[in-house]
Symmetry: C5
Subunit: 90 residues, 5 copies
């Protein structure tokens, strides 16, 4: 998993039916967890109720569907936990 | 998921049978979502009806097949939503 | 999927039994599809009959097995289509 | 798999139910195993009992769930072994 | 798949039970197959009997378990073939 900070969300009205009802959060990946020189954002489904500014654990790949009761939705990233105390993470 | 902008499409007449009938869209990945210094394009199947210039949500990996009713096709990226308003994303 | 150009092949006599009968093509990934500053090649199984110089669509991950009738082979990349006209892609 | 060194852990009280009871270890990826110029940490579940300072083998993707008896948890990285002697690895 | 050169191995006595009996080979990824500026090693299970100095084909992700009869082990990389002649690859 990686750690990121919730920055906002995007709205998509025209989408796959199995995505209806989900929030697409913009997660800013912490510098140490960024997988490249450039990429610093990921769009993740939120099943926990994270708010803007929260530090979150993001699971990627098939893990995003497994265990979030969304096994039949086209999702490759999900917020699966909120970090209690993000102090010192950045 | 990542956010990209539809740039065009490629045509492939000789392809796996299970890909027949699909459009291969060239999606320019937004700078913040690019996973490297270099990579800025991905080829994604479109099940939503995105047009050139649209900002889209792209699911990668097995997520591209799951939930798009293409579980038996060799697909690793799919457009799963169109962003309502891309203003300020770039 | 990514777009690459077939450059040649490698031969492996000692290999997993379930790989017997397959060709291992060296695919040079197009610059816009390279996922890093450095990586510019991938080894992909060819089920379409691509030749050297062809521009091809490569599916990665589990997609390489799904839909190519090779679900029980240790394959993570497959040529799933040949681009009709590669002009302007590079 | 990649090799990393356990650096600490993060606490997440609000998380997916299927993650309850797990430890989220911060693993510093060894320089040769870092997949980018920037990323040097990963959050991995620990099923082995690794301690801070241990050199560990981390499996990523669906491998993290398979074989760790956590097939229904949203996990994409797990510590699956502790290296006996990390001398010379760094 | 990627091509690498076997460099050595690591020993892990405390590991997941389903990994018992496997060798963890250190594979140096060939420069053209490195997926980043930095990463040049991967730890792969060897089911073929590769020796130090051999050029090998490495399958990653779920492909490493499929077709190697290790579907229930936490493995994300496996040596699935030995290149007959590595001349000119580097």
């Amino acid at each position: 998993m990686l750690i990121g900070k919730v920055k906002g969300s995007v709205v998509s009205t025209r989408k796959c039916e199995r995505l209806v009802g989900n929030k697409f959060m913009i997660v800013e990946v912490l510098k140490q967890h960024v997988q490249t020189g450039g990429a610093d954002q990921i769009i993740a489904i939120d099943k926990i109720g994270a708010g803007i500014g929260d530090y979150v654990l993001v699971a990627q790949g098939s893990a995003a569907r497994v265990g979030t009761d969304m096994e039949d939705a086209p999702i490759d990233a999900a917020i699966v936990g909120i970090i209690d105390d993000g102090t010192g993470l950045e």
